[in-house]
């Protein structure tokens, strides 16, 4: 039976890009459907009635939502280049850090960059702390790894769940910082994390599945201007 894989995504969404990266690493052929956020398509509302958000994967007509759920689904459904290691303890650690990124790092970073001025300082402190913890977890590994033939070897086959989940940190934060005129993540403060960013962005499967920098920057600049105009 011919396999049908469709991905409803958004060009600028790190969550959507996570799923594309995972599919590409596995060599899965899929049809990409760009969603229009302003006018959420009837299809999106049909396939993700609970959260009404992208990304949503449709595999032979069956929908699945939530990017981290999707990363595990992709890992379990298609063979080769796994993003999770086989050992249960290591899998638990990978899941822990992916969750930490989504529930702690991302919200703190977002608030520190875009939040109300009164909240920004506290959010900044929290974001810095979280990034330090993430950096500590990296230690001297080139990637968070856990994928493929095990961490430390570098190269695309070693990209793991945590590396994919941290795509926002590796790419979006730098662009947003420039748009907003703030600086949380820099090479002096986070040398180990920056080494990881360099390593991750050197992998073609990651690089080729990121939104174009100038387009992304323009988007965030316009958001900043819109926010200022509404004050």
């Amino acid at each position: 039976m011919a396999e049908e894989v469709k991905l409803f995504g958004l060009w600028g969404s790190p969550f959507s890009r996570r799923v594309e990266i995972a599919l590409k690493i596995k060599g899965v052929k899929y049809e990409y459907i760009e969603d229009d956020l302003q006018n959420k398509s009837a299809l999106l509302l049909k396939y993700n009635p609970v959260h009404k958000k992208v990304p949503v994967l449709l595999h032979n007509g069956k929908p699945i939502a939530e990017s981290l759920v999707l990363l595990e689904y992709i890992d379990e459904t298609w063979e080769g280049n796994p993003n999770l290691p086989p050992d249960p303890y290591e899998r638990a650690q990978a899941r822990f850090w992916a969750k930490f990124i989504d529930e702690k790092c991302l919200p703190a970073l977002w608030k520190a960059l875009f939040g109300e001025e009164s909240e920004q300082e506290k959010a900044m402190e929290e974001a810095l702390q979280n990034l330090k913890m993430l950096e500590k977890e990296l230690k001297d590994k080139r990637l968070f790894g856990g994928g493929g033939g095990g961490g430390g070897g570098g190269g695309e086959e070693s990209i793991g769940l945590v590396d994919i989940a941290a795509n926002f940190i590796a790419y979006w934060v730098g662009i947003i910082q420039e748009a907003v005129g703030a600086e949380i993540l820099n090479r002096e403060r986070f040398p180990v994390l920056y080494k990881w960013i360099d390593e991750l962005l050197s992998c073609s499967v990651i690089r080729e599945n990121l939104p174009p920098r100038d387009k992304m920057l323009a988007y965030f600049i316009s958001r900043v201007q819109a926010a200022k105009a509404s004050k």
């Binding site: 595999h59 699945i64 981290l68 689904y73 303890y89 638990a92 969750k99």
Partner: protein
């Protein structure tokens, strides 16, 4: 083989090897499992249920969250929270991650996650929904009053109805068998009396099918023995309200 050599081979080689293998097997069987927990925590209850489903012997350690133990701080330096599952000295944090870990390590008995990848994805999706919505909205119900509380109640009941819709006419969220989503949600039942009393509403009246599901779950030893008495939880909530000056 020469007759005189056989007893020597047995004595010097086979017997020690067999003893060594037997000893090693005994070592692996003596797993050390510790759970750092706090009795009213629905997150802790999830892990208790999973351990009970698998029949795993473990040491339960009650934490005083106002005075966290050095062990807790060492095992969960990032969040400093319970539950923490410690297996042979190594910590697993976050309740749903611990439940999956338990399912993967003790995989030969009472599976908690389904085997089909699509069903597993659905289970993870709904467990994630419960994590994001139920605790926070439930907390707002007992922490607020007046207009704010009415809003909180609407939100909380809305989430329960969403879950009730997903349950449908199935016995459990995964179908015929008790599983991951059931483990994720049923601990909140021990807080229902507290939510209902603080908010003056009836969950049974709002979500009768969900309550029927609760009764089915409570028939399982693993669930009944892992959940504290609802009135005890209510007393605890009253203490919290007093402490935070919420009347």
């Amino acid at each position: 083989m020469d007759n005189s050599l056989t007893p020597l081979v047995l004595k010097r080689l086979l017997v020690p090897t067999l003893l060594h293998l037997g000893f090693r097997k005994t070592l692996t069987m003596a797993d050390e499992v510790v759970l750092l927990d706090f009795w009213p925590s629905p997150f802790g209850m999830r892990v208790r249920i999973a351990l009970a489903e698998k029949g795993i012997k473990y040491e339960y350690k009650e934490e005083d969250l106002r005075n966290k133990s050095p062990l807790l701080l060492k095992m969960n330096p990032v969040h400093k929270q319970i539950p923490v599952l410690i297996h042979n000295g190594k910590p697993v944090n976050e309740s749903l991650i611990a439940v999956q870990y338990i399912d993967e390590v003790w995989k030969d008995k009472s599976p908690i996650l389904p085997s089909d990848p699509y069903q597993r994805a659905l289970a993870r999706f709904w467990a994630d929904y419960i994590d994001k919505k139920i605790y926070v909205s439930g907390k707002k119900v007992w922490q607020t009053k007046g207009e704010e509380q009415e809003e909180a109640k609407k939100e909380f009941i809305g989430h329960l109805k969403m879950l009730e819709g997903e349950l449908g006419d199935k016995a459990f969220f995964g179908g015929e068998c008790f599983g991951f989503v059931d483990v994720a949600l049923v601990p909140f039942y021990s807080w229902f009396y507290a939510y209902e009393t603080c908010g003056s509403f009836s969950i049974e009246a709002e979500c009768p099918k969900l309550m029927a599901w609760v009764k089915r779950c409570m028939q399982r030893d693993s669930v009944a023995k892992s959940l504290p008495d609802q009135h005890k939880v209510y007393d605890f909530v009253l203490q919290l309200k007093k402490k935070f000056g919420i009347e």
